[in-house]
């Protein structure tokens, strides 16, 4: 069989296997974070820990998994201590190739003819891992020790026998041991199924062919990636996106990037980026690499396989001691969201001057909090206020989406139904509606963001993450305008305001929350939007008549008819 045909068949089969693993996880895990939010990724690496295939979990998981397997090889492989029947677990971002502590990775080695052949893995965000706040996000953390249990590379299963002592340790360090128990079992189950299927593949094609196929699959992605990069004009492009808080005080935290495109390579240099900060928005190296890959793959061709071969054309320099490569013991649980978002935006902005037609406007940053408490049955619950997710940015050809789960998911995370939340948590959600006059104007406008109101009936602990309520984050691009920032207020049951921090953990009585989530940015000049589309938004209560006139330069009468002449004048004036 021709090599290319074999490679096609192997790649197709390995992708099928990693998807099958994901399906097993989705269906068997206990926490809704997996079944509903897909906050996990199943992947396959070769014997050296090079990522071969990854099933679509959430995008920010992409490309980070290789670091975990390489840590296993470093800690155990080097002393020949990886045996058939072993299964490893790890999480620590400093010591074990993790991206942040809540993501535990199960690494399942598989052997062919007594030789280490590949790894099947599952990295998944646990419901709770101890630390200073229930639900893994301790926004008051100033050291990694405040964020939960740290797992070095450990054998959880030793030659087929689960280490019960270790299992108890894991459960003991979580506020939700019943979830940990079910979820880790589901993770292991998925890697076992993946391993079985790779054995079947080896049986069908032979170990030699499959092993060679791994290399060919990587080479293929390498070629595809380089072809895409060749289409970007050579040059050095700069981009910057910043936060205005270190979680404790207002301070400028810029992520700066210089993207150097030369022939078929991209060099991403973070020199000039802010030093690591006091709060938990510091990135690990695994997470920073992932964020860069998200930025590139979402900007370029989504059909390029996202494996270690495609990563070869990309070099990344993340200076130690900055927010994109923090030194121990900086806290970093937030990193898969912030600064991952700033990293993605800095790269997107840099690329927008190279390929403006393909430019992506900013998605709003989230500002919702997390409530946690004890349910009627005495079990700890953790509720993410997901119904207040922000609007997304526009691209050429479409407006932004009204509300998706932040850019690091690219929308691959489902928002549960209000009805499901109200059955599960002591809350009543009073509004989840598109905002008026919030979307960033443009030829294609941003997503509206959401007006969200909720009543929480019981006292609860709140972890605040008000990133989106500082500076407006859904930036406009190539002439488009930035979307409105988020607003967050809490008030007691009699309607009096309650002071809440932007970041931090606070125990509060029963309360109400009113939040307007960030809106997305627009693409292109607003005066190029067709008057009919503007009118439609006015009729639909998304854009006011005033905003139509001032932002889109379209004159609409009170009876909702377009004043063509007036529009012509307004647009001519705007074009000058």
């Amino acid at each position: 069989m021709a090599d290319a045909v074999l490679t096609t068949l192997l790649q197709n089969q390995l992708d099928h296997i990693s998807q099958h693993m994901g399906r097993v996880m989705e269906r068997t895990a206990r926490s809704p974070i997996f079944s509903e939010s897909h906050d996990f990724s199943c992947f396959i690496t070769d014997a050296q820990g090079q990522l071969i295939s990854v099933a679509d979990g959430i995008p920010i998981h992409t490309g980070g998994g290789g670091f975990a397997v390489k840590a296993v090889i470093r800690d155990f492989g080097a002393r020949d201590d990886i045996e058939p029947g072993d299964i490893f677990i790890l999480s620590d971002p400093y010591e074990a190739g993790g991206n942040h502590l809540p993501d535990w990775t199960i690494v399942h080695p598989l052997f062919v003819d007594g030789k280490l052949f590949a790894f099947t893995c599952n990295r998944a965000h646990q419901s709770d891992i101890g630390g200073g706040a229930a639900g893994t996000y301790n926004s008051a953390a100033t050291e990694i020790f405040h964020e939960g249990i740290r797992l070095p590379v450990m054998k959880l299963v030793e030659q087929g026998r689960t280490r019960e002592d270790l299992w108890r340790l894991l459960k003991l360090n979580s506020r939700c041991p019943h979830l940990i128990d079910g979820d880790v079992r589901a993770m292991i189950g998925s890697t076992k199924i993946g391993a079985q299927r790779i054995h079947a593949l080896v049986e069908e094609f032979g170990a030699k062919a499959v092993s060679k196929g791994f290399g060919d699959i990587l080479d293929y992605a390498d070629r595809r990636m380089r072809a895409a990069i060749l289409a970007i004009p050579d040059g050095i492009y700069e981009g910057m996106d910043a936060s205005d808080t270190d979680c404790f005080s207002l301070v400028d935290v810029p992520v700066r990037v210089r993207v150097k495109v030369k022939d078929d390579t991209v060099a991403v240099d973070f020199t000039g980026t802010a030093e690591q900060i006091k709060g938990f928005k510091n990135s690990s190296i695994a997470n920073t690499f992932s964020a860069v890959y998200v930025a590139l793959f979402s900007y370029l061709d989504p059909s390029i396989p996202r494996n270690a071969g495609a990563f070869r054309a990309v070099s990344i320099h993340a200076p130690e001691g900055t927010v994109v490569n923090a030194r121990y013991p900086a806290p970093m649980t937030s990193n898969t969201i912030y600064p991952a978002t700033e990293i993605i935006y800095a790269v997107w902005k840099a690329l927008s001057s190279a390929l403006p037609e393909e430019a992506c406007a900013g998605w709003g940053k989230a500002a919702h909090c997390i409530s946690s408490g004890t349910d009627a049955g005495g079990k700890t619950y953790v509720m993410y206020h997901m119904h207040g997710y922000p609007g997304t940015g526009a691209v050429r050809g479409r407006d932004g989406f009204p509300s998706l789960c932040t850019v690091i998911t690219l929308g691959g995370m489902q928002i549960p139904n209000v009805e499901a939340f109200e059955r599960k948590y002591p809350v009543r959600i009073d509004q989840q509606e598109m905002r008026l006059d919030a979307a960033g104007p443009g030829e294609f406008r941003g997503g509206t963001g959401i007006d969200y109101r909720v009543t929480v009936f019981e006292p609860a602990e709140y972890s605040f993450r008000g990133e989106g309520s500082g500076i407006a984050s859904g930036f406009g691009i190539v002439g488009g305008v930035t979307g409105a920032k988020a607003d967050f207020e809490a008030f007691d049951r009699s309607g009096r305001p309650i002071a809440t921090p932007r970041y931090g953990v606070k125990r509060l009585p029963s309360l109400g929350i009113r939040m307007a989530s960030s809106a997305g940015g627009g693409w292109g000049e607003a005066r190029n939007r067709t008057p009919e589309r503007v009118l439609r938004d006015v009729e639909d209560g998304i854009v006011s008549i005033r905003s139509a006139r001032e932002d889109y330069h379209v004159a609409i009468a009170d009876d909702l008819a377009i004043d063509l002449e007036g529009t012509g004048r307004l647009r001519a004036a705007a074009g000058r």
Binding site: M1, A4, T28
Partner: protein
């Protein structure tokens, strides 16, 4: 096929099944002796009813009957219609208004914030079926436990009705929060709207799909409202035309769940017709299951553009709680049809990175595959089959189509073989290998990923192209038998003649499973059963021919996805045990100590049609099938070798004929590939059974 039924006296009453496809309208008549008469005539996409009536006229004429006689003799007229699907796909529905709880009118546009193909964030969503200015809030609120938090402010309903009137809305969907737990506000809204807007179609989510989840309920209800004003008049007109022409019984329609239903009963829920046509294929599959005395079957129905995979497991059709038509979610029970974009017209080539691809692009009916000579230049799966010698060159379908092998060779050579430096036969083999891998993956999605062992199933190849792949796919999945129905071309219409009448009823619950729940379960099922019985009686089914299938949707507390467990015998301990076992089987784990939640009570009320007698001809003496000719056909092992393969004429084969592969069988509507080492037998019903790897188990070809 030399059809022995034609010219024979048909014994009334008979059943007629009519399936409307994009190109052909298929007609099947089965008489009281079980004799089957198939007939195909062109569809009329602009007005499908014209195509239906034409098919009846044509079939009647072929049988030497008047149309009136054909219809008067008919006891069950069962129709699969694509009008609902087309209205939804082509966005040609009515102008819809939506009534929502204040604060939640955008649920349907937010779409749970989910992008299935997340990396492709540039592709826009299609417009929602009801735009924002027609999504109007009413003041009311029901809590999760069904208690009323805020009473319905009827003035806000009236205000909305006025606005709908001004806007000329044709249908209104009502979806209020937690209406599955307490429908009283939705019911009152419906009353007010019906009173104020006579002639406007009104549909409420609590009546249509009382499930937990406002997005799914709203989407379903809006789709129902969107389709109803367009499809109900059409179906009513078709019914009266049929009555006028002699049909004395009510026309039955196939629902997405595979069961038939009268038009009157489906007029509240036309969205249940979304998969009307293809769902009937399941009844065919069940019919073949009875003939084969097998209760594990999977069909791969492959046409020009897609491959539909359906499963019958333990004699039961695989079902799903919702279907998607385009991007529109309809949360009504449906047979599960898993579709991939692999068909005869799927375009193949080498991508920019040097690997082979098959799809997703297709060549369509025009220009079609390169070998059609209609201007298509890119190689398709059909061209690969042509290169491999499996399809015969020359004219087809009464000379309306001529296949040219040299065009296929050129296309495969230029786009696949030459870039890889291999022969055109090797290139064509690679295409088929990839396509069959994709078909295998599709079959695994509906078996392995559910904990079913595909090796235990019989694989049925249907549609024009299914029979070319069925033996090889079956072999690679470890199956023992591949099956090709003689009537592969009218698969769904045949199924319609065997579709039982069915009503699906549901009550959501969300309570922990325990002994104390027993009386609630009994009450719930009792209520559903009474409702089902009265519906079946109205359809003319006495209670003796009615049956009720009870199921509970169960899950471990905290899980999202429930598993349906049979609950015919309401014994909490045994239901619990069955659930644990099912979970273990599906997912390799169970949690015997965990709390199990009852999510829904489900009841299917089925009115059984009487079983038809076997219509097959009696066995003749076993004999090897005659070889029509031999030609060069690829060995199919990837070597590029061509062998001198036997070609059999299907129309000359009847019950008792067998042949040891490799062989190609040319049927009227399909071509069957029998692999090296396989044995094909024509069964007593005239269908083809391919026994995988059993060539030496029986007599030699002679």
């Amino acid at each position: 096929m030399t059809d022995t039924t034609i010219g024979r006296n048909l014994r009334s009453p008979w059943r007629i099944g009519i399936d409307v496809g994009g190109t052909f309208t298929d007609f099947v008549l089965i008489d009281s002796d079980g004799a089957i008469v198939p007939y195909k005539s062109p569809s009329e996409p602009k007005n499908p009813a014209v195509g239906v009536l034409r098919a009846i006229d044509g079939a009647a004429a072929m049988l030497g009957l008047s149309t009136r006689a054909a219809l008067e003799g008919c006891s069950h007229f069962i129709h699969g219609t694509t009008v609902v699907t087309n209205v939804l796909l082509e966005r040609k529905g009515s102008k819809v208004g939506l009534i929502a709880t204040e604060g939640f009118r955008d649920t349907i546009e937010i779409r749970r914030g989910y992008r299935e193909l997340m990396w492709d964030h540039r592709t826009p969503w299609e417009d929602v079926l009801v735009r924002r200015k027609l999504r109007l809030p009413v003041v009311e609120r029901v809590a999760a436990d069904g208690s009323v938090v805020t009473p319905l402010d009827e003035a806000t309903v009236r205000e909305a009705a006025e606005k709908f009137r001004t806007e000329g809305v044709e249908a209104v969907a009502i979806c209020l929060l937690h209406s599955y737990a307490n429908p009283v506000h939705e019911q009152r809204c419906a009353e007010i709207l019906r009173e104020m807007l006579p002639g406007v179609y009104v549909t409420a989510s609590s009546e249509l799909a009382p499930i937990i989840g406002e997005y799914e309920r709203a989407s379903t209800t809006v789709a129902n409202a969107y389709a109803a004003p367009k499809v109900l008049p059409y179906l009513n007109e078709l019914r009266s035309e049929l009555t006028r022409r002699g049909l004395s019984k009510d026309m039955l329609l196939v629902q997405s769940n595979g069961g038939a239903i009268s038009l009157d009963h489906v007029s509240e829920r036309p969205a249940a017709l979304a998969l009307s046509g293809p769902a009937a294929g399941l009844a065919s599959l069940q019919l073949y299951g009875r003939q084969l005395e097998a209760d594990h079957l999977i069909s791969i129905e492959i046409g020009g553009t897609s491959c539909d995979v359906t499963v019958v497991s333990n004699g039961a059709v695989a079902e799903t709680e919702s279907v998607k038509v385009g991007d529109i979610l309809i949360a009504l029970p449906s047979v599960e049809i898993y579709t991939i974009g692999t068909g005869g017209g799927t375009i193949c080539g080498i991508d920019q990175g040097g690997l082979l691809f098959a799809g997703p692009e297709g060549a369509g009916a025009k220009p079609g595959p390169a070998c059609y000579g209609l201007g298509g230049e890119r190689p398709t799966v059909t061209d690969a089959q042509m290169v491999l010698g499996r399809l015969r060159a020359g004219s087809y379908a009464n000379n309306t189509l001529t296949l040219d092998a040299s065009l296929a060779v050129n296309a495969v050579n230029r786009d696949v073989a030459a870039p890889l430096g291999i022969s055109s036969v090797e290139g064509a083999n690679a295409i088929i290998r990839l396509v069959e891998q994709n078909i295998r993956h599709a079959v695994e999605k509906v078996t392995l990923e559910r904990g079913l062992d595909p090796g235990k199933f019989i694989l049925v190849g249907a549609g024009g192209a299914g029979a070319l792949h069925v033996a090889e796919v079956a072999r690679r999945l470890g199956m023992k038998i591949a099956f090709v129905p003689r009537l592969a071309g009218v698969f769904c219409a045949l199924g319609m003649c065997h579709s039982d009448v069915r009503h699906d009823l549901l009550q959501s619950m969300s309570r922990a499973l325990g002994a104390e729940l027993l009386s609630d379960l009994e009450d719930g099922f009792g209520r559903l059963e009474r409702e089902g019985l009265s519906k079946l009686e109205a359809d003319g089914f006495p209670s003796v021919s009615s049956s009720f299938e009870k199921k509970l949707d169960l899950r471990y507390a905290g899980q999202q996805w429930p598993i349906a467990v049979p609950a015919g015998n309401l014994n909490v301990a045994s239901i619990r045990k069955a659930f644990d076992e099912e979970h273990e089987r599906l997912y390799g784990s169970s949690q015997p100590d965990a709390v199990v939640e009852v999510v829904n009570l489900r009841l299917a009320a089925v009115g059984k049609l009487p079983q038809l007698p076997k219509g097959g001809d009696g066995l003749t003496q076993l004999a090897p099938a005659p070889v029509k000719e031999r030609r060069q056909v690829s060995a199919g092992d990837g070597s590029g070798l061509q062998i001198d393969m036997a070609v059999l004429d299907g129309t000359q084969m009847c019950a008792g004929h067998f042949f040891n592969g490799p062989a190609v069988i040319e049927e009227v509507t399909t071509t069957i590939l029998v692999g090296d080492g396989d044995r094909v037998e024509v069964d007593e019903f005239g269908n083809y059974r391919i026994l995988i790897g059993s060539a030496n188990a029986g007599a030699a070809n002679g």
